[in-house]
């Protein structure tokens, strides 16, 4: 099956990466005349999280295109069952997904589990790619600080390897700094 292009967007906390990714997704949906599916990996665990989710939901509702939200804290490949006519998909975000996948295992993290989760996430993204017209992936920059905790190091390592692989597969990759997208890969459209 043909694979849709991947657009990768990353940045620091509150860098405006999600807002930029939403714009990018809207643009794709208009260019390709396809609907939008928003895959939310975040779990609304506390009030702050609810507020953050609501804020982004409001932003999407204010836009002219219709956003269909699907919540997949884990097992993102299951989302394709809900797709219709190869939509443009925005997956927000990879760091939360990795967090959920590693924690849902509910046991001590190990190198083996981390590499299984790595394979699982890449396979899930590939399944989505085969069922959409464009896949936009949002992630976080969290690899510029040292942690003494081996579990955090393992998380960082898995995330870094995922980012490297996704950037390699991506048609376009952006690093958002203070709301300004810097194109790291791809041709300026």
């Amino acid at each position: 099956m043909e694979k849709a292009p991947i657009y990768f967007v990353t940045g620091g906390v509150r860098s405006g990466k999600s807002t930029f990714a939403e714009k990018l997704t809207t643009q794709c949906s208009q260019d390709l005349n396809r609907g939008i599916v928003y895959i939310a990996c975040g779990r609304a665990r506390d009030e702050e999280m609810v507020l953050r989710i609501n804020k982004h939901q409001e932003q999407r509702e204010q836009s002219n295109v219709s956003w269909q939200t699907r919540e997949f804290p884990t097992d993102i490949e299951e989302s394709v069952k809900t797709f219709d006519h190869q939509p443009v998909v925005l997956l927000d975000c990879l760091t939360t997904l990795l967090d959920n996948e590693l924690f849902s295992a509910n046991t001590e993290w190990s190198q083996i589990q981390a590499s299984q989760v790595y394979d699982k996430i890449l396979a899930g993204l590939e399944t989505i790619q085969q069922n959409v017209s464009t896949l936009v992936i949002v992630s976080n920059e969290v690899l510029h600080e040292y942690s003494h905790f081996s579990s955090v190091q393992l998380y960082q390592r898995t995330l870094g390897l995922l980012h490297q692989e996704i950037v390699q597969r991506a048609e376009k990759a952006y690093l958002v700094e203070s709301g300004m997208p810097v194109m790291m890969k791809g041709l300026q459209s």
């Binding site: 920059e141 690899l143 510029h144 040292y146 490297q164």
Partner: protein, 143 residues
């Protein structure tokens, strides 16, 4: 002297391996493999790669303050550059993890470590002929 930096697990070493001809004659010293930082440069080799210099700086941060670490690294850098100057085929490539964008560490020695890294990296970048920032396998030449 070339300096290659970027976040951890961003593919810095992989990029260096692909970019530079790494042969049997290349001396690749890695702090992650518990290699020691050479006090005297190996005069027989033409190409030396030092990987994970933040780890070596960390060893210093157990005993010294950030300013002293910076000063001692400046002497080292001087030695590196002199070694390179003696023969035009000689080439040193230094790889360092960027630790500068997290929250303030609780432990004082970690703060010293982070400060020293930032300073040493500034000095390396200033003295280097070429500086590369690696972002998930993609390089951005800063100098």
């Amino acid at each position: 002297m070339h300096f290659v930096t970027g976040g951890s697990y961003n593919g810095k070493a992989k990029w260096v391996r692909e970019q530079y001809q790494v042969t049997d004659e290349t001396i690749w010293l890695s702090a992650y493999q518990d290699h020691d930082l050479p006090e005297n440069m190996d005069h027989h080799s033409k190409r030396i790669i030092l990987e994970g210099i933040e780890r070596w700086i960390k060893q210093d941060s157990q005993q010294f303050n950030a300013a002293d670490i910076r000063a001692s690294w400046n002497l080292r850098i001087e030695g590196f550059l002199n070694w390179e100057k003696e023969n035009e085929d000689r080439h040193l490539i230094i790889i360092g993890n960027d630790l500068s964008k997290g929250i303030v560490p609780i432990e004082a020695s970690d703060r010293t470590w982070r400060d020293a890294c930032g300073w040493v990296y500034q000095d390396l970048a200033e003295r280097a002929d070429r500086v590369e920032l690696i972002w998930y396998g993609i390089n951005q030449q800063l100098k």
